[in-house]
């Protein structure tokens, strides 16, 4: 069935048109094709309005494409499924549930019994270093803590692919760097396939195996770069700066 078994996600000539309030249509995503290898860490960078979040939402099954398809393991994605998780930028935790209940909510929807889902949830809460706060409520946590919980919640659903839509976009610089480090650890532990959308070139260079550079209006793939640096990467080495600089120049086009 699957012609590229090593490609877990295949995006084929994906386009998305939006209609504005005035009745005009504009092309947010224009014929984007992209293969995501299993266990890889892909970052999509691009200016705002390049449709990068839209691609992610379509891949998560939250939105329909205007044309083209997203395939997961050879099957077309048309609605959300447990195998593909999505982490939002902010305000995604259910404020009426504790950290533990938030993280256990995916398995709860799936009908997993209480003991098992709490045990699994605690495992992932521990993984993101939030175990001391498992009974806290989202409003009692800082932005960085909330994103850790959001990541744990996505992981507790045991997805194959983890899509992340600017997960650290609302955080201060220091917290952001800390969470990038932790995300890499989580990735190394779980070996999920991660696709992370960001507008920070630095973040992409720090995290990714492969960087997809997009251009805007209409959203197209401008270039795909492989990153060949050992992890953990140091921002101090010349290679890091050179690649960052190169991508920034590409984005100007």
């Amino acid at each position: 069935m699957n012609s590229h078994p090593e490609q877990i996600i295949a995006i084929n000539r994906l386009s998305k048109e939006f209609t504005t309030g005035a009745g005009n249509t504009f092309l947010a995503v224009d014929s984007v094709s992209l293969q995501i290898p299993r266990n890889s860490f892909t970052c999509i960078v691009g200016p705002s309005g390049c449709g990068k979040s839209t691609i992610l939402r379509i891949a998560a099954g939250l939105e329909k494409s205007s044309s083209g398809t997203v395939q997961y393991n050879g099957n077309q994605v048309s609605k959300p499924c447990a195998e593909i998780g999505l982490v939002f930028q902010e305000y995604s935790l259910f404020p009426w549930l504790s950290v533990l209940d938030n993280v256990a909510s995916g398995p709860e929807f799936a009908g997993v019994d209480k003991d098992k889902r709490y045990k699994d949830a605690e495992h992932y809460i521990r993984m993101v270093n939030m175990i001391d706060f498992k009974d806290a409520y989202p409003h009692e946590l800082s932005g960085g803590m909330r994103q850790r919980v959001a990541i744990a919640r996505a992981l507790a659903n045991e997805p194959d692919v983890l899509l992340m839509d600017e997960p650290f976009g609302a955080l201060d610089a220091h917290t952001r760097i800390l969470l990038q480090k932790e995300l890499l650890k989580v990735w190394e532990m779980t070996r999920k396939t991660i696709v992370l959308v960001t507008h920070s070139v630095d973040e992409a260079v720090y995290l990714a195996d492969r960087i997809v550079i997009m251009s805007s209006r209409p959203g197209r793939i401008h270039k795909v770069l492989d990153v060949d640096m050992d992890r953990p990467r140091s921002r101090a080495i010349p290679e890091f700066g050179k690649l960052t600089d190169h991508i920034l120049k590409e984005l100007e086009h």
Partner: protein, 266 residues
């Protein structure tokens, strides 16, 4: 401070006027309030009448909440259902609940739960006969709109990311309603229920004051007025205020205790 000041003014005025039909003494009214189970001029006791009104309000109100909340959730979530019901509901919204009384009396007359259940004698009959359909209907109308409006508002303002998150985590439509929309809109629903209860209580007491009513705190006040027992009138008003304030405090307690997460910025 304010109640003490009011009491001082009351005592002074009562002494000055010296007519207990216009303003009875504070001690006279307090005696009635402090002995609520005493029978008053053969209309039953203060507590008994308050209880009758309370039972009426709770029944009509529960009915209103049971209809308004599910309808509000559906209207808030599905644009089609909103469009379907909204015009119709808005037509009836401006009609004051008490303006329904004549029509409702024509429909239901003095039929009560007793008539409906077929019990025509004994103590149970007296209890059931106190619950007139006409009264329930007025309470229903009074409570229905505030609950409906705030439920729709609450559901509409649910952060879309919560719904998207639940979808991505694998929730089906039913789970989105029960585990996301309802809890997320609950603070707004509770506020609507609090306002609805206040209005229902006011409507009921007013409805009880109209002809055809033979029990309840509203009836007691009107009847006491015709007998020039102003002390009972004031004692009755104090009870109405106290019951209303207690119910409101109960809801506030629930809001504070269970919805402190609302402080979160969204």
């Amino acid at each position: 401070m304010a109640p003490a000041l009011l009491a001082v003014i009351w005592i002074a005025l009562a002494r000055e006027i010296g007519n207990e039909v216009i303003l009875p003494g504070i001690e006279q009214v307090s005696r009635i309030v402090l002995h609520p189970t005493e029978d008053l001029i053969s209309m039953g006791s203060l507590a008994g009448n308050v209880l009758v009104s309370l039972v009426r309000v709770i029944m009509g109100y529960t009915l209103a909440a049971l209809v308004a909340i599910p309808l509000g959730v559906a209207m808030g979530y599905y644009g089609v259902i909103f469009k379907f019901f909204n015009g119709f509901l808005n037509l009836f919204r401006p009609i004051p609940p008490l303006a329904w009384v004549p029509l409702v009396m024509a429909w239901f007359g003095i039929s009560s739960l007793a008539t409906a259940s077929g019990i025509e004698t004994g103590q149970i009959y007296i209890y059931l006969d106190n619950i007139k359909f006409a009264m329930l209907f007025i309470i229903f109308i009074g409570a229905f709109y505030p609950i409906l409006t705030s439920t729709i508002h609450g559901v509409r303002n649910v952060n879309k990311t919560f719904i998207d998150s639940a979808r991505v985590l694998g929730a089906n439509e039913r789970q989105i309603f029960r585990k996301v929309l309802l809890p997320a809109a609950m603070p707004s629903i509770i506020t609507g229920m609090r306002i609805g209860l206040g209005i229902a209580w006011m409507c009921l007491v007013s409805a009880e004051m109209l002809p055809g009513s033979l029990s309840g705190i509203g009836y007691m006040i009107t009847h006491a007025f015709t007998l020039a027992s102003t002390d009972i009138v004031i004692a009755g008003m104090i009870s109405i205020g106290a019951v209303g304030a207690l119910m409101d405090a109960g809801f506030r307690h629930i809001e504070h205790k269970y919805f402190s997460w609302r402080r979160q910025a969204n």
